[in-house]
């Protein structure tokens, strides 16, 4: 292992790379979780049925309500 740790040490601030990667991923994941949690039920249900739906509608129910 010495050879590997040796080449590790030679890179300036090498520890920053995994830390940055972790922060990017974790923030992204939290944001995604929050977004999905917030997604309206009507939207989620309509989307889940989409492949089975033979009569397409271009807006979900809540969007139609907004446009009305």
């Amino acid at each position: 292992m010495e050879i590997v740790t040796h080449s590790l040490v030679q890179i300036a601030n090498v520890h920053i790379f995994p830390i940055i990667s972790f922060i990017i991923f974790f923030t992204f994941f939290l944001l995604m979780g929050y977004t999905v949690y917030k997604a309206p039920k009507s939207y989620v249900e309509e989307m889940a049925k989409l492949p089975l739906d033979d009569n397409g509608e271009s807006l979900t129910e809540d969007e139609e309500d907004l446009n009305a």
Partner: protein, 713 residues
Amino acid sequence: MKLEKFTYDNQLTKLFMFATVFWGTIGMLVGLTAAFELIFPALNAGIPWLTFSHIRPLHTNAVIFAFVGNGIFTAVYYSTPRLVKNPMYSQLLGKIHFWGWQLIIVSAALTLPFGLTQSKEYAELIWPIDIAVVIVWVVFGINFLMTLIKRRMKHLYVAIWFYIATWVTIAVLYIVNNLQLPTSFLHSYSVYAGVQDALVQWWYGHNAVAFFLTTPYLGIMYYFVPKAANRPIYSYRLSIIHFWSLIFIYIWAGPHHLLYSALPDWVQALGVVFSIMLIAPSWGGMLNGLLTLRGAWDRVREDPVLKMFVVGITAYGMATFEGPMLALKSVNAMSHFTDWTIGHVHVGTLGWNGMLTFGMIYWLAPKLFKTKLYSRALANTHFWIATLGILFFAVPLYFAGFTQSLMWKQFTEAGYLAYPNFLETVTEIMPMYYLRAFGGSLYFAGMILFVINIWKTAVAGTFVRYEEDQAPALEKLRPENVEKLKWGWHRKIEGNAVKFTIFALVAILIGGIVEMVPMFMVKSNVPTIAAVKPYTPLELQGRDIYVSEGCYLCHSQMIRPFRSEVARYGEYTKAGETVYDYPTQYGSKRTGPDLAREGVTSLPNYKPDSWHYNHLIDPQKMNAESIMPPFPWLAVNDLDIASTPAKIRAMMTLGVPYPKGYDTLAVRDLKKQAHEIGDNLRQSGIKVDDNKQIIALIAYLQRLGTDIYKNKK
């Protein structure tokens, strides 16, 4: 609301479907031949293009790009128009895409077995074909994205997200990995060398698995499983998390193919961590697929389509659990270079890709030909023999992997290798190779039943080329209302195909950039070694023979820093030793021993020129139990000496420090060295001319690993 009428054209779906069936049969037949050649090395009958190392890349490329590739396009051309309520944008672009792709496959079949290869795994195709691939991929992309832009549905269903990610990521991967400098119409050198090339190769290699074998098939799962089960997808929320986390994480995992190699440890660590994290989205997706069948399990007993889907998705779950486990350094120390990896890969390809393709086509063919499936019983038989085939394929290879690896690492009480002769460890696992060939035969027999069933179905029905549908015109959410939506920002990305593509691109670029930029920028990642010198012209030509004969498919050139490997092969491989290897020949499998120190005279495994000559001509004459194919043509074929100056110039362009103007002197040096080796062989009683390919290959083999040993003397 006024409904607009429009027509779907099924012509291209049908063509792609038939191409999938046809190339699947060919690709698997080639694979089966390769499996039998490992048992009967003489099966190639002395024909170069039939030899294991020539057809193995044909097998991998055929099943990935021809079978799975056409499978992807079948799904995209069928499901996309129906999901966005609009026919495909252009029938002409579709035709160019279809015929262009088939032409590429034929070109691959006419080049790879004949030794025209780059030697980058799953990216072996030579540069003119690479350019064709890029052009056809762009044509496909325009047709696909324009269909999305012109759609009637505001929302893009999750299957389409996976198609988008596939298109954009494969474009990036393919171009970056295939950057090369041509020396002639049929030959080129990769612009990357050594560890950097290895990183790029496996960033590509792993993500070819991710974005060609996985994401588009998840699209298939998200569309065809609900269709066949007549149930909505279990959780759309889960599918959103599944999508973004999968594409974001997958792209980082490539370095787990290079654990304990000369790749810097920080890159290896990133590869491991992200591989472990991959379990979460992969299993999220798998469960989402399986749970879609809730309430439909009674039908799984009867319906071959659903059976295929269940086994396919289960295989996906198993392969995506096993993958991260194999990426753990302690497990990888044992599994890497063995048949375990081959077993793992085939659970994914035969199980996930194969079964999903079969299920999709068993569902689709009756729809396209407006009839019933010719025989449900035949499809059920196919299901069972294919499932058994997968087990007979994978399980023996797991045992072969454990066994061989443990034998490689076994020491006697006195501290010597228990099995110093590599061949002993091969002979031990031969029964497993027999069983694998049996498993492969079963799976292939199933494939034949599939072909018959689909053909009979097509003949019995009438092809429905056009299908009418109707939907309201695209109604836009008024801009002032977008902000009022509870989850406006995601809605904005998702409602716009171009924006979505850009976001997916950003997600996949982050991983690649974090791993690659420091690898290329920070010089200390590849510590230079003064003793390491460029190859002589003859060695360089010999290296090209090594590449075109496909030696890298069975022999690694990467000694890992383990006691067992150092004792067997010599000093472990350093990053600085491979700086002139365009591309690297680390390899990924040891069907034969590692060759990284093949030329070091002070090591116990050293073999003289005459041994190499006789061994290459007839390996079984030297070792009766060897499973290496014979390469007698190397002693017959002349070396293409005229190509030497161009090759040297290309090397110089890439930064190899030959003296200025060396290209004009190279042929003289080449002939001088060839004459020395020729004389040496003739003294051993071998009749050979200096200008034969075998002389160059011996020169290369005798050079391997010697540089750093020069200092030790």
